[in-house]
Symmetry: C2
Subunit: 138 residues, 2 copies
Amino acid sequence: MKKFSKEYIDKLINLLDFSKIEGDLVPVITQDSQTNEILMLAFSNKEAVRRSLETGYAHYYSRSRRELWKKGETSGHVQEIQHIITDCDSDSLLFKVKQIGAACHKGFYSCFYNEFVDGEIKVIAEKVFEPEEVYKKQ
Amino acid sequence: MKKFSKEYIDKLINLLDFSKIEGDLVPVITQDSQTNEILMLAFSNKEAVRRSLETGYAHYYSRSRRELWKKGETSGHVQEIQHIITDCDSDSLLFKVKQIGAACHKGFYSCFYNEFVDGEIKVIAEKVFEPEEVYKKQ
């Protein structure tokens, strides 16, 4: 992704509506830019959107840890942003990314691997890494 | 989608974590099941998830109107659910759907048509219907 200048970043952030989610957040869908597979859903505040636009790497806001979070900071599984798209109401974002490694901290490429089938949850993906091995590195 | 029995629906709804968004909601990503294009992002409460599982048609909760909402009720642009998938934390849903008509009330197939490019918003899709014509029918 082409980096944006500070002036443009301010302008773009002002276009977004952060008022609808407690804590001034927008939901962010992250999608593999090549296959269109959905990788995860997270939330970003203004600072996380700003850092994403400045660096070209996906940043989110962790509601549980209450802090800005660069995806892949611990695991190395960063997301290089290719496209940033907002929706008709400017209250959600779509990051189309090149995923390094895998998106899910449980070891799957995508966080969306649990399908509702016949009243049961069926795991529809294969693990691509062992979380214990990746996260013990830190 | 195969319809679920009441017993299974209760079980599946109990697996989901509605506690993270004010109003007991989960974000729902809606994706074209054939092309993987993302169509929209909305929110559902338990009742909207229940109605989706019971009927096979996507239902959401409108935060602005504060009511359950069947997608396409006015426009006819309903979404036939093919797969329902939840994520690793069970706090988000993915509906893979067959979209009848188009998803966006502004006349686009997908709500995600505004890309951030060079500090400007660029419309990256073509309108597929005229909202005034579709919504005046009611």
